[in-house]
């Protein structure tokens, strides 16, 4: 009997004609856990995927993205970010177990959802947000890289980190005003290419915009991103 990767309860595998014929990606978490993952739905920001609130939008952009796009330093670098789920308590617990407790196996739980979204996205190369060496040695793996590895896409390590402090401890202002955070390691690979960046969480969008800026400055034609949580 298969067990849910997250709650470890036994899962009933229901074989239907539909599941056989359509060869749907096999689920690794149970229906109850899947039910607690809330997909981003309805009208969403055309850049960052945030669900649009009538008090927090101008046309099809959320106010955060309006602010980013007004700023000449940041405008136009990140074409689009797709996020799968709301960063709710359940997903917080799941991502905490995945990256802080170090339960690599949970990457498998996210892969079917990522694959589903990636069907509609166009890109030449895939890369991921790097960890500082210190963090990598602590965790034993990069949570974004683990996703790309299991997705089985053409992935290249294009970026390295110039700073080591933890992002999560900084305010939005601090993150935005930072000088360059990433360095491009293989500029010759990305010339005239469109790049997809994979990461776990989109919070303020500053990490992804820093990475996008570095990639575009080094010659990429377009940069988009996909994250688990928004």
């Amino acid at each position: 009997m298969a067990r849910c990767l997250f709650c470890v309860e036994e899962m009933k595998v229901v074989l239907t004609w539909r599941s056989l014929l359509l060869k749907k990606e096999a689920m690794t978490i149970c229906e109850r856990c899947e039910g607690k993952l809330k997909k981003l739905a309805g009208e969403t920001c055309s850049i960052c995927s945030r669900e649009l609130d009538k008090n927090y939008r101008i046309e099809d952009l959320c106010l955060d993205c309006v602010r980013w796009e007004k700023d000449k330093k940041w405008s136009g670098y990140l074409s689009i970010n797709i996020s799968l789920f709301h960063y709710n308590e359940f997903l917080k617990d799941m991502i905490a177990k995945y990256k802080y407790r170090g339960d690599y196996a949970l990457a498998e739980a996210f892969v079917p959802f990522l694959k589903d979204k990636l069907k509609d996205m166009n890109f030449d190369l895939v890369t991921f947000i790097p960890l500082s060496n210190e963090r990598l040695m602590e965790r034993g793996f990069n949570q974004a890289q683990a996703l790309t590895d299991l997705l089985g896409l053409n992935t290249v390590e294009l970026l390295t980190r110039l700073h080591t402090e933890k992002q999560s401890k900084k305010s939005r202002e601090e993150r935005i005003s930072l000088p360059q955070v990433f360095q491009v390691t293989k500029p010759d690979l990305l010339k005239q290419k469109s790049i997809l960046i994979v990461d776990d969480i989109y919070t303020t969008g500053s990490t992804l915009r820093h990475a996008a800026k570095a990639l575009k400055t080094a010659g990429a034609t377009e940069v988009s991103s996909i994250t688990l949580a928004r």
Binding site: R3, V8, R101, G102, Y104, F141, A146
Partner: protein
């Protein structure tokens, strides 16, 4: 020239932190330089957290051997495919390349004063017999079952044995599956043994790094120990989740020294334990009477008809309705046990027509304790609950009924524990316990027999007031 042979220095702080434990580097607040120095001098042992023998993985910390609960990933620390244990991942990842460290240097000695115990209460003769057996077991090593009815006063029975153990330089652990038991026992033991360090360990507790002669711990916290204790006392040995989780048994066994004494404490030993006792394999002592010398109220069985069907028709079975109404009228606090949360939530509106102040309590309630306290204070006339309240609750003058007592969740031991909620206090040693049913179950009959046998034994041994 004079030469002195001295052994290289060991770190007493590290000795204190690591003695009797098996920890990941991240759980040891010492620099890698100190740790590797102490390893070099043979004071600290190092072992892989996950081992592979004949293709089978084995977690050294939690004992997991289920291949479905291991996962292999490309590890950047050891730069190869590395297998880790998913069963105990919430305590930090244990893998093939993650080492577990233990202390193998000089033994840690605890300073124990001659007069270590300040408790000077008196024991009933039933308690005294058991207390003597506990003292003897601590000295003799091996296993002992203390089978004491609900309300016998189990904790006091341990004091003399703990005192004897401490004076003999033994390290003692009192373990229990339930955090609320740790919280209740810990201050009592600190009062009884004020001159020594008593550490209490449960999920979220602070006192993690101190080695102490007396430890009170949830069974879960023992995963981090190894060959630490000379005496392990397991309270509520039949309680969830210890009763069903083999890894907790592994944790307790790993925490014991090979020559340790093990004492099991319960009112309701499992069938298997009862069999070992009857066949003479397991030594045991019983305390069949409560500390107030009155017999335990024997449950009464009452047929309620098809209670589920009646509830669906929005009716409370008449026998149950009148049982509740009588007690509401006489202002006797009551507990009604239901087989599941769903049934209980379904019927609470019906019961609230009898008294709007009746409430429910179940495992997911954040204010569980407050509601029980409200019943105790008389602010609430009664509570509807599930087996979550089968243990550890004492309310004066309480009457108890089990609804759907034939349901499989009500095992013999659950029913004995539930019946044990009645008549616990000195002032009100009686009360009624009723099993409402739609067809008797074996467990119901056995629970009643169990209580009758204990009362009979208590009479025979002269432990009850005539």
């Amino acid at each position: 020239m004079e030469t002195t042979i001295s052994s290289p220095p060991f770190s007493p702080e590290l000795q204190n932190h690591l003695t009797g434990r098996l920890l990941l580097a991240s759980e040891i607040p010492f620099s890698p330089a100190i740790i590797s120095d102490q390893i070099k001098h043979g004071y600290v042992s190092v072992t892989s957290g996950v081992k592979c023998v004949n293709g089978q993985y084995n977690c050294v910390r939690c004992g997991n051997q289920n291949s479905a609960l291991f996962y292999t990933f490309p590890c950047k620390i050891c730069n190869q495919d590395c297998t880790y244990c998913r069963a105990c991942i919430m305590m930090g990842r244990v893998s093939e390349c993650a080492k577990l460290y233990g202390w193998i240097g000089p033994d840690l000695k605890f300073a124990v004063p001659d007069k270590v115990m300040s408790w000077d209460g008196t024991l009933t003769s039933g308690q005294q017999t058991a207390s003597d057996c506990v003292v003897e077991a601590v000295k003799r090593k091996g296993e002992l079952l203390v089978w004491a009815v609900c309300g016998a006063g189990k904790t006091e029975v341990l004091f003399a044995g703990i005192e004897a153990g401490l004076l003999a330089g033994k390290r003692i652990c009192m373990a229990t599956p339930r955090t609320d038991v740790v919280l209740e026992l810990s201050p009592r033991l600190k009062r009884a043994f004020p001159a020594i360090e008593v550490s209490s360990l449960y999920g979220g507790s602070e006192e993690r790094s101190k080695a102490s002669p007396l430890t009170v711990s949830t069974t879960h916290q023992l995963f981090r120990f190894s060959e630490a204790f000379d005496v392990v006392i397991i309270d509520e040995v039949d309680a969830f989740p210890y009763s069903i989780d083999d890894s907790l048994h592994y944790a307790v066994n790993k925490s014991k020294k090979p020559s340790a004494t093990t004492i099991y404490l319960t009112a309701t030993p499992s069938k298997q334990m009862q069999r070992s006792y009857r066949s003479g394999k397991l030594q045991a002592v019983t305390i069949p009477a409560r500390y107030h010398h009155k017999p335990i109220p024997v449950p009464e069985m009452k047929w309620s008809g098809n209670w589920q069907k009646q509830y669906l028709q929005k009716k409370i079975p008449p026998v149950i309705a009148s049982w509740v109404s009588e007690r509401l009228q006489q202002k006797i606090p009551l507990l009604l046990f239901f087989p599941s949360i769903q049934v209980m939530e379904q019927v609470i509106p019906l019961f609230q027509t009898l008294s709007p102040k009746l409430e429910t309590v179940h495992s997911q309630h954040p204010e569980r304790k407050e509601r029980v306290q409200a019943l105790r204070n008389g602010e609430v006339p009664g509570l509807l609950t599930t087996t979550i309240l089968e243990r550890g609750v004492t309310i004066e003058r309480l009457d108890v009924a089990v609804i759907g007592a034939e349901h499989e969740v009500f095992s013999e031991s659950a029913l004995v524990q539930i019946a044990g909620r009645v008549g616990r206090s000195f002032t009100y040693p009686t009360g009624t316990i009723t099993f409402f049913h739609y067809g008797k179950s074996k467990a119901m009959v056995e629970a009643i027999y169990h209580i009758q046998m204990m009362n009979k034994e208590a009479w025979k041994r002269g432990l009850l007031d005539g």
